[in-house]
Symmetry: C2
Subunit: 379 residues, 2 copies
């Protein structure tokens, strides 16, 4: 039984359970599955096909993106961050947000960086190198496009070109930025490998949202795509071991404690987030406010140009600001010192009171008007 047959067979689960539509090579499907497995929330995985991706899911959620969740009661959800928040309200045992509000904020910040900033580097490693691009084009074409009547080679070629054009070329990866894009991955590996020499998870001896968020890029892309995987295996074996520790973690078996406060070995990651993700969020939000469709930003001395403006990511910055400002006096005073030293507070608050206009009634992850990260995917 090959990869595709395996995916298809695993989709024939028992009925009457919540369904997760996605792909077994998908960034955010991997993040959501890691969460559901840890929390031991049963679900049936459905390999998404083109008709669902382009018709059913957008009709139900408003966004052409994966994963999408269909609940038993017929409601649909999309966007893993609010999906996870909603599940936390329904399954309150073994919460993945730490009780300490400062740690909880750090989890949100790491999740947002993993979701939004590491995406470019994950797509670059997947689609810029033939050994990864050919494999993934085959897997995606075979799994997703079973309902498209075209020859396999044509579907694979189209998949490879579309993904490269949209998410590598179209997202600012070029000769000037490639070194910085790859350095972002290597910096993350270095910081995490060091952390996992002394503890099992990012904030202690049980998983938190920081681990679940990082599983987005680190599981189905960096640990599985041949090109970044050999780098992880050879230079950061502790991160590889952590990926599969998280994938195998079940709340009922994990009884470890969290550390107290923000551990020193996490500070280099906060610095990296301040220099990269928060800078990019600010530039994106400024461009959005001016009505631009493309923007440019300097990251760690590397000029990124002609990047697509994302309405969704304006909301990301808005939410981070709201959560930071909502912290109680105590939590904020300790945390602000740590974040200031790592250069995070200035970019976080540079634009006063960011308003995206998205989801003013707090309907996410439900509703029919979810916002995709990028407005336009060209065929």
């Amino acid at each position: 039984m090959g990869y595709t047959q395996y995916c298809a067979a695993s989709a024939r689960g028992e009925g009457g359970r919540m369904k997760v539509y996605g792909l077994k090579c998908s960034y955010f499907t991997g993040k959501l599955e890691s969460y559901l497995r840890y929390k031991e929330i049963p679900y049936e995985f459905r390999a998404m096909i083109v008709r669902e991706f382009t018709k059913t899911i957008p009709a139900k959620t408003g966004a052409m993106q994966m994963p999408a969740v269909e609940l038993d009661d017929g409601r649909w959800m999309t966007d893993t961050s609010p999906i996870i928040d909603w599940f936390e309200t329904q399954h309150s045992e073994h919460p993945i947000l730490p009780d300490d509000p400062a740690q909880a904020f750090i989890c949100r910040l790491i999740e947002d960086y993993a979701d939004e900033w590491m995406w470019r580097s994950a797509m670059h490693y997947r689609w810029s190198y033939p050994e990864s691009a050919k494999l993934l084009a085959r897997q995606i074409a075979d799994e997703l496009t079973t309902d498209v009547r075209l020859p396999g080679w044509l579907k694979r070629n189209r998949t490879e070109k579309r993904q490269f054009n949209n998410f590598v070329l179209g997202d600012g990866v070029n000769d000037r930025t490639r070194t910085n894009v790859e350095q972002g991955y290597k910096t993350l590996l270095k910081v995490l490998n060091n952390i996992f020499e002394t503890r099992r998870y990012v904030l202690g001896d049980r998983p938190t949202l920081a681990d679940i968020g990082l599983m987005g890029p680190l599981f189905r892309h960096f640990s599985m795509d041949p090109t970044p995987a050999i780098i992880m295996r050879e230079t950061a074996p502790g991160v590889m071991a952590w990926v599969y520790r998280v994938w195998n973690a079940r709340a009922s078996r994990e009884h470890g404690e969290l550390v107290s406060g923000i551990p020193d070995d996490l500070l280099p990651l906060l610095k990296e987030i301040g220099e990269t993700h928060l800078e990019a969020l600010c530039a994106n939000a400024e461009a959005f406010a001016k009505g631009q469709e493309r923007y440019e930003v300097d990251i760690q001395g590397t000029p990124y140009t002609d990047l697509p403006v994302s309405h969704y990511r304006v909301w990301c910055l808005e939410m981070l600001q709201k959560r930071y400002k909502a912290l109680g006096e105590n939590a904020r005073s300790g945390l602000s010192k740590v974040l200031e030293e790592q250069g995070c507070v200035e970019p976080l608050l540079r634009l006063p009171d960011v308003r995206s206009g998205y989801d003013p009634e707090g309907k996410t992850p439900f509703g029919h008007s979810s916002l995709p990260v990028f407005k336009e995917i060209k065929s």
Copy 2:
């Protein structure tokens, strides 16, 4: 930097250290590297090229196989089982063989099964499914054949055909045997996943030769090749976590204890070994004694026909018999009961005093006349 460039770059280490010639997708290179890393024995990895594989290594060791080790003093070694035994004599701290002679024998048995029996199933999963075969043909052709002046597509096509013809078709995988070949992998996953729910390694909370031996098939083939990897990831996540736990294990950090005796949850694996590997070793040794070049054997009701006779595997059976007979009274009486109940003693001793005639002076892993597992690899 792609997969191949990564391998090439990692080969430029400092001089004056022991060199391991192999490939980053190789079964036995992965086994040896797992051992060296655990024992913290420094080495320089060299991506093997065709000239070395077909000329240098056979001239130095007698066998066209990987990995090969070049020591600082100019001596060469091949064959991971005796290589590891020799390293154990040189690096006696943190031994990987348990003190308990019965456990030590079980380690030898599991290592031999992992080395010799799981090979067919690992090669089948790698070369029978396009998503794996195309990827590996690319990686091997790009890494191994950098010194062959032919177009890349031709080298990849030739690699794919050669490996499939020699190690899948030529090793008895066909419509009648395929289900049994795949079941062997799934049985191993099931037994191990169950074990790793209660302890970190096969025989307790630190690695032994059983873990190192199993890394042969389970690391560079089953956990990395896309087809078997998705099966492992989805049905045996504990085994995936164990693979990278072993890869990341360092003797100086692992202070766990071994269990005492042979744990019950290991018995199904011994039964499987008796029904598969030991049966095949007997049939092979009988055919060798009769001067045959091909043989057939019934495994678990599945008829395997036209299998290549291996002189090397006669030696495997000889060594298992010798080690079993060398056990002291105490160790043997307890162990024989366990092994008899799992059906291992009868096939182990069915052929009295197997003599392979290989290595009568005990020169392995040194010497210039090492025996490859298969006599003939057709281009």
